[in-house]
Amino acid sequence: MDLSYQSTEQSIFHELKEAVILIDKQGRIVYYNQQASTLAKGQNNPGLARDAHILDVFPKSELMRVLQTKKAEIRKLFRLSEHISVLVSRFPLLNKDGEVLGAAAIIQQGSDGEDDWRVGEYIQQGMQAVLQNTSQAFVILDEHRLVIMQNPAYEKFLLLLKNNSSAEADWKEQLENVSKKTMQTRRTVEQKVEGSPIEGNIRCIPNLIDGIWKGCILFVDYDMEQAELIKQLEQSRRIIRALEAQSRFDDFTAESSRMRMAVQQGKIAADMDYIVFLRGPAGTGKKMFANAIHNEGKRKYQAFSVIDCLQEKEKITAFLEMLNSEDTSRHPQGTVYLKSITDLSIEQQKKLYRICTNHYDTAGYRLVVSSSVNVETAMMEGLFLQDLYYYLLQTSIHLPALRERKEDVPLLVHEWIQIGNKEHSSCVSSVDQAALETLQNFPYQHNFKELQAVINYSLAKLNREKTTLCEADLAFATSTIDSNQKASIPHNEDKPLSELVEEYEKVIIERTLKELDGNKTLTAKKLGLSVRNLYYKLEKYHLN
């Protein structure tokens, strides 16, 4: 294909404001207009000439790349020199079979002449600095009203809305309406946002080029003081909920896929009436989760009661009797959370199964049950009723241990540091990477409770002026993690009594098991425990 141009086309190219350069597939210049010649001369280059190789006369054009990539590059910012930047579009020239014949560059000048080459970058950089640092929140939308760019102030505003669902809904609706109206009218539209928890004003300016709609810019003004107060109020309410042991699903940190799935299942369960079976190791927040199911369901105005099947034997017996009775007026209202149902006797499990299958559907109350031990193992050992197991399996939700959701650990750490700072008058604002990794990889036996205890204990012992929590500052309660290591009586290393007791208990169980060649029945007998209780402790201390 001949890339040389007839005089008519040359005239046209000469009339253009833009600089045009054409090269063949070898990189030799085939055509250039006056503007391109002027441009290239100003760059200490020998000057453009036909048949000269582009790399010799104008290497910065970067046209050789386009020959290889065969991809168009549209309106790229191109630095000609220290003070001059231009916009260049580069196109491969292909024949009908897709073979490269050459490449073309169209270099856009400023509208007022050569001075614009020099100030272009200053303006651009200056504008960037202003846009990024202004407190005025704005977002730029394209012609389809999709976001092209939003500045940090706008991102901050979005985060603020995220904490207040009512305000978020109000603002999203208004932003949508205003941008739509601007698109329809092609005029600047202003709209006040009133009656929302966060009030303010939206202004939308259309972006018209030659009268054609190219998008718009949305400016957002909101009452920052009010917004700050609302943010603090939400934080206070969250603290109150924590103190009141009143959970919601929003309170669960769920960046990990496992936890997100659990939360999703929980939200579905909240709207239903079926019995929920929560499974997960000790300290994974099963009670808190059950409370969230209650608080986000239709029984949120009613009581949430807890019965520990291990610790409250009489209460669970009376409860099961009450549910089994024909007199439904005695049935409780609200949600009843049965903790550790694997500690029910087989007879009690049979009663529970009868309750579940006979008249649970018409009951006014709702049951949520949980287990920290491996139910399958218990079932295989004859300690858990098979029928009940298969019944509950249909509606079970697994709450992962911390080791299964390591990506949530940093968020949890930061959250508890914020709470812990208030309690311990510390001012920690960050955690170093080594500390985070240690916290993520530590094999917690009590999951949340232990991680929370570590954070609290570390903050309590920390120098009040420290703002970064380092690995050396971490105060772990358990000193041994490898179950293969020979366990020893733990030394009194300034630990809480409850943790010392647990460490000692673990050591004793481990020793006794070894002495009796792993016979669990004899071990339980020697230690004065029920077999069920022993299994629970084996699970708890990872001694299985």
Partner: protein, 367 residues
Amino acid sequence: MRKHRILVINPKSDSTVIALYENEVPIFEQTVMQEDAADYHSISAQVPARTKKVLDFLLSEGFNLSRLDAIAGRGGLLKPIEGGTYIVDKEMLADLKAGERGEHPSNLGGLIAAEMANGLNIPAFIVDPVVVDELEDIARISGYPLISRKSVFHALNHKACGRRAAMELGKRYENCNFIVAHLGDGITIGAHKQGKVIDVNNGLNGEGPFSPERAGSLPHGDLVDLCYSGKYSYKEMKEQLLYHAGIYSYLQKKDIRQLEAGIKEGSQQDKLIYDALAYQIAKEIGGASTVLAGRIDAIILTGNMAYSMMLVDEIVERTKWIADVFTYPGENDMQSLAYGCLRVLRGEERAKEYNIKLEVQESEYSG
């Protein structure tokens, strides 16, 4: 000591005042507006909406409803009963819903408390409703058989003040004699004998001292003449005596602080009316002292007007010879309701049952 958490409900005409107490300590108080209250065809029809609004509010603030031990509501217009803390039972609910003794926002107290308590498996109580009637038979004799003296007074505040004074004296309320003067929009002065209010002026229906807007006791002859003069209708006369009488009818002022300002500026008329107010209150207190045969542990001044040092001084000047005067300005209904409920939860008092007969029957519930 075990912590009891009590929710207190005090319904007003277009709002519900709620408070959360942990033992004696108020941890939260809020007025939940009910803008659409006037749209309902009856008071009791508002129960579901008001209940939901209160519950939603508590949940949104982060409070755990399951931690509540009891709910105490303001008592409404029930049949005359003795003072005390009553468990809200079916009979009481039926009477409150029917509203046969009058429709009043306070009727909602017991209704809302019961609605909430039912779902939480906890008891609901009302405490010292306005219909408390402990008058001795002798006090009911008016001198005209067609009209019997009735007991309508600020029972909740009266009794709360009596208990407080008894505590300060190191005694039980049931073992003391007090004269309690509630000085508010209405003025009621009661003789408390061993825990019972055996005589009290009907502040709502024109007995006793005048108040900022109400006429007090009037010579019945002149009153009858005025009623039949043709100048005023029945309704107009009623409104006159309830809302356009008292201090206002003399001075066009309703707040005694305005009178005090006028007195400072030298207004003789303001001083006259002000002195007359103190005079009538003191005279009523004096009358009550004879009811108690002079055996009085203390005189108690309460209500919003008791904040006025000038008024208190004038009353004390005339009554100090009777007994010591205690001043508990204002009225804290929420606290009184909470304390009444707390006494039952702690087992210091048994909750009473509401029934047809006036005599009291105690329930099994004792906290």
